[in-house]
């Protein structure tokens, strides 16, 4: 019935919309046909043709009224009216191109910023997994008292597979890791990113390989047996030119031969937000790759390195899965009290897992909030402009109301105008958003300084576009509704008498005033935020780092990649450092586990200082720790303030020693010399370590702008061997000139061992510590400047509007003897009061933002007074100019002209 109904009526409706003229012509022809017959009839009955025509028309009882009735019957009024409204809106906006352009740009700025930040948050949180039915894929995670996101061990993973009923399958993977890759055996390996996955990974996630096959479940049963690899699509194209014959070939991974069995589809760049693996290898091949050396990956229940995901069965409920896993976690605690004490488990949806796993999304949310603040300022600004525009059209609207237009019809007309504005603004805004995304993508290499394939996949996808356009529509309502509603409340009689009727009461002015106050406050807040960031960044730059970062070459090694055992690793590093120290052009060289501002986080140490009375609520203290060799302090230019640095004589079997930084020493021994004191590692009964020296405190990490007071403890390489180490070599010239000789030394020691992160240390430092934070500052600063521009425009608009509204009054005043200064004061005074109120509120909001940023981004406490001393006067000065310019125009009005105005 419904379908058949539309079969007949839809063509009619479409015709009424798109062939309107034709339909009208046909209507005229039809009625004319009728009238002609009627006239003929009249003439036949003896009337004159004129009388006959009159009689015919009378019988119709009003031809035009009937036509309207027929037009209503077409039921497309709402649409044709809307189209008419849009046409009218475009025409009337076209008459004021300057205002229109300004409004469009204002909205576009706000929406563009929102679009850019949306796409950031989208990439960080909302984009679904690139698999079929992504909503059914959940993350299983361990939990402890301190952490809500803990990996599982291989043993635990097997139990999860065997003892859960809610899933179609449970998959596991290790984090992406550096792998020494060589397409042909015997060529120099390069570092590529590989992921170890369970055998059912592709099958359960529903990934159909592009060519070849995914893993079989049995390829994940026997450790070390099935050396097979699935390539990522992008890697396959890059490395093999997209050659389909790659399936069946062998490649070298970490010195072992693997057979390529398939290529993942282009649509599957990996499950991680940032990492886009070059290839996948079965978990059972873990012995070839880096896992915790201290533990046995396949046996130890506490070797927890696996991310576990599962696909919910159709019909299975998340709550049931949660209960099931909770029961299982309790069983683990009972069965394995040592390995599982205090460990729970949780099932996370994609959204939950992304927000629990890391905190990057918080940056995105901060930026979205800031962008929305800009949009809000833009909208209030536009609303203000439309309000004054509507005012100047008071008479037009009064006429429309007088000749019978409904109020809702007028509101619709005015809303159509703001809709056109918002859509134009939205389109330009999307373009700005694209620009923003491009800009951010071009900074990717700064954000991710790594040899591995990592990137924030920011893009303007459909989700972002829809959200942006929805926002544009919302802004249309926000900008347009208030002015539209107010203008229909016009007093008809007054409206018809004068082009600008006095507003009824103070209420309307009150609204405008609130807008200006909000703008001033909002932009002041944004400016404060950006200044605050820039200031604390600058401060941290001025402080310096405490070590010399120039003329340093860094190269990272990881002998685990070629399966060295501890002894081989030790020998390799001994020979390496000896060779490098002898090389031409090397002044000094050292080995260190981490470099300051590097990408890897520092190791943590728990300890108890000997003879220290512990606070009742804790058993140990924590500090950052790093393994360095005896040349480190000299090479990095970190002075030893008291005691000594490490010596070659600090061997594995000699008494354990450590060097602490000054912050550490002052923290625990504020009144005595730390040298000679001992700490116990792990707890009160741990291994004793003697502090033999105190080094100057340096900065260790980027991310926090003021990390100058971090405790740090150095231990000698011989007593605390670590597999992955960074070679630092200081040269007198360009540090990169040392690369060939270092490469020769490494090749002589082991041609299969890749050199990673080979670069001048200063480059790393600049990227991590300078350019990265600067991106954030640029971003907020950009917003602050945009906000200021908007606020200025808003204030200018308000004063200019007041001037035009009170032109006649000004004329009268001047005719009665008011001086220009009086007029200036009159026009500016109100604006400046508003600025003052806005400033006070803005300062309050600035304090709030400062507290928020201190809590989320920086760790500096206190209030930065100078920021307000700069921002507030700047704000006041700029807004005064904005009010002065139109006010001066008022003061120059010739009284005779003003009195004749209108």
């Amino acid at each position: 019935m419904r379908a058949e109904h539309w079969w007949f009526t839809l063509p009619l409706r479409l015709k009424s919309i798109f062939r309107r003229n034709r339909v009208e012509e046909e209507l005229d022809e039809e009625l004319e046909f009728h009238l002609e017959h009627r006239i003929e009839e009249g003439v036949a009955s003896g009337l004159s043709p004129e009388d006959a025509r009159l009689r015919a028309l009378r019988a119709m009882r009003g031809l035009d009224q009937r036509k309207e009735e027929i037009r209503d019957a077409r039921r497309v009024h709402w649409l044709t009216d809307f189209v008419d409204d849009l046409r009218y809106a475009v025409r009337s906006l076209g008459r004021t191109p300057g205002l229109t352009a300004f409004v469009v740009i204002t909205i576009a700025l706000g929406i563009g910023m929102a679009a850019g930040t949306f796409s950031m948050v989208d990439a960080l949180i909302f984009r679904p997994y690139p698999v079929p039915h992504p909503g059914r894929v959940v993350t299983l995670s361990g939990t402890t008292r301190d952490s809500r996101f803990e990996p599982f061990s291989y043993r635990e993973y097997l139990d999860l597979c065997d003892h859960t009923r809610s899933y179609d399958g449970v998959v596991a993977n290790l984090d992406m890791q550096a792998v020494a890759f060589a397409a042909e055996p015997g060529t120099t390996p390069r570092v590529r990113g590989g992921v170890l996955v369970s055998g059912n990974y592709f099958r359960v996630l529903g990934i159909e390989p592009r060519i070849g096959r995914g893993f079989r479940d049995d390829e994940d049963r026997v450790p070390g047996r099935d050396a097979v690899v699935v390539l990522g699509a992008a890697f396959w194209r890059r490395e093999f030119g997209g050659d389909p014959a790659v399936v069946g070939r062998t490649v070298n991974l970490n010195g072992r031969r693997f057979t390529v069995v398939g290529v993942a589809p282009k649509t599957f760049p990996g499950m991680g937000t940032f990492s886009h693996p070059d290839f996948y290898v079965p978990l059972a091949m873990a012995p070839v790759f880096s896992t915790d050396l201290q533990k046995s990956f396949f046996e130890d229940r506490d070797d927890r390195e696996l991310t576990v995901r599962a696909r919910l069965k159709t019909g299975a409920r998340l709550d049931d899965a949660r209960n099931e896993l909770a029961v299982l976690a309790r069983q683990f605690q009972v069965d394995y009290p040592d390995a599982s004490r205090g460990r729970g488990a949780a099932v996370y949806t994609q959204f939950q897992s992304r927000t629990v796993e890391d905190d990057n999304w918080k940056f995105g949310v901060v930026f979205v909030i800031l962008a929305l603040a800009v949009l809000l300022v833009a909208c209030t600004n536009v609303a203000g402009l439309l309000l004054s525009r509507a005012r100047s059209r008071t008479r037009e609207i009064a006429v429309r109301l007088a000749i019978g237009a409904g109020r809702s019809r007028i509101v619709r007309l005015l809303l159509a105008e703001s809709l056109v504005l918002a859509l134009l603004g939205g389109l330009v805004g999307v373009a700005i958003g694209y620009g923003f995304v491009e800009w951010f993508q071009s900074k990717q290499n700064i954000v991710f300084q790594t040899d591995l394939p990592m990137a924030v996949p920011m893009q303007m996808d459909t989700r972002v576009l829809v959200a942006t356009l929805a926002l544009a529509g919302l802004s249309a309502v926000l900008c347009g509704l208030a002015p539209a509603l107010q203008s229909t409340r016009t007093d008809l009689v007054k409206g018809l008498k004068s082009a600008d009727a006095e507003p009824p009461g103070r209420k309307r002015l009150w609204g405008r005033n609130v807008l200006v106050v909000a703008q001033v406050a909002g932009s002041l807040m944004l400016l404060t935020a950006s200044f605050l960031m820039a200031r604390s960044f600058e401060r941290s730059m001025l402080e310096g780092t405490g070590f010399s970062k120039d003329h340093l070459l860094m190269v990272r090694f990881d002998p685990r990649l070629v399966q060295y055992d501890a002894e081989q690793t030790k020998r390799f590093y001994e020979r390496l450092i000896a060779g490098v120290r002898d090389a031409m052009g090397v002044e000094r060289a050292a080995l260190t586990q981490n470099v300051p501002f590097g990408q890897d986080s520092f190791e943590g140490l728990t300890f108890v200082p000997e003879g220290f009375v512990m606070p009742r609520d804790r058993e140990s203290f924590a500090s950052m720790m790093g393994t360095v060799d005896e040349g480190y302090f000299a090479t990095m230019g970190v002075p030893i303030l008291r005691g000594r640095g490490f010596l070659v004589s600090d061997k594995a079997d000699s008494p354990p020693v450590a060097v602490v930084n000054e912050a550490f020493a002052r923290h625990y021994w504020p009144n005595s010399d730390a040298v000679g004191k001992r700490i116990r590692r792990g707890g009160a009964n741990g291994e004793p370590i003697e502090i033999v020296g105190v080094a100057r405190t340096i900065k260790y990490q980027s991310g926090s702008f003021s990390g100058s007071h971090t405790d740090f403890l150095y231990v000698p390489l011989a007593q605390h061997p670590v597999a992955g180490m960074i070679l630092l070599a200081r040269s007198s010239g360009d540090p990169l000139d040392l690369v060939p000789s270092v490469r020769n030394i490494v090749r002589r020691l082991d041609p299969n061992l890749p050199m990673m992160q080979t670069r001048a240390y200063e480059d790393l430092y600049m990227n991590q510590a300078v350019y990265g934070p600067r991106i954030a500052i640029d971003l907020v600063g950009m917003m602050g400047v945009v906000g200021l521009v908007l606020a200025v425009a808003g204030l200018y608009g308000l004063v200019a509007y007041n001037v035009s509204r009170r032109t006649r009054e000004i004329g009268v005043r001047m005719a009665l003897g008011a001086q220009r200064a009086d007029v200036l004061r009159l026009m500016m005074g109100k604006g400046m009061v508003l600025v003052a109120i806005g400033t006070v509120i803005g300062i309050g909001m600035g304090f709030a933002v400062e507290r928020l940023m201190n809590a989320m981004l920086f760790n500096a406490g206190g209030v930065d007074v100078l920021v307000y001393l700069v921002v507030v006067p700047l704000m006041v000065l700029v807004t005064m100019v904005a009010a002065y310019v139109p006010a001066r125009r008022a003061a120059r009005i010739a009284p005779t002209l003003a009195l004749r105005y209108e």
Binding site: E4, L12, E30, F33, H34, A59, M60, R61, E69, A73
Partner: protein, 111 residues
């Protein structure tokens, strides 16, 4: 102004559907037919004829076609659709129920 009170609400639709069920015809012919059928009892204003026709067309009950008349003029001919036929049956049934009920009531009051 058209006078809906001239006819019982909705009966014009019924009349038009019924007339068009006989054969396709144009507006003028329908108005002649209405006049001749009902004599002077049913005063259908020509003013309400065309809005009613257009309404029926938009409901999908009748469809329109431009054709030549016998005098070789172009005219808009209306004809019943399948939906219209069904509608006619419904409305006729309704009308018969209604008129039977009214007749019944009228006779009651006379008795």
């Amino acid at each position: 102004m058209s006078k809906p009170s001239d006819l019982v609400q909705g009966t014009l639709d019924l009349l038009l559907l019924k007339i068009l069920a006989l054969e396709p015809m144009h507006g003028w012919a329908i108005s002649l037919r209405l006049r001749s059928f009902s004599g002077d009892v049913l005063q259908v204003s020509e003013g309400s004829l065309y809005p009613a026709l257009h309404k029926l067309e938009q409901e999908g009950w009748i469809k329109a076609e431009w054709k030549q008349t016998e005098n070789n003029r172009r005219a808009k001919f209306y004809s019943l659709t399948r939906l219209g036929r069904r509608q006619l049956e419904t409305e006729m049934a309704n009308w018969q129920r209604l008129s039977a009920a009214i007749t019944h009531v009228v006779q009651l009051s006379e008795a």
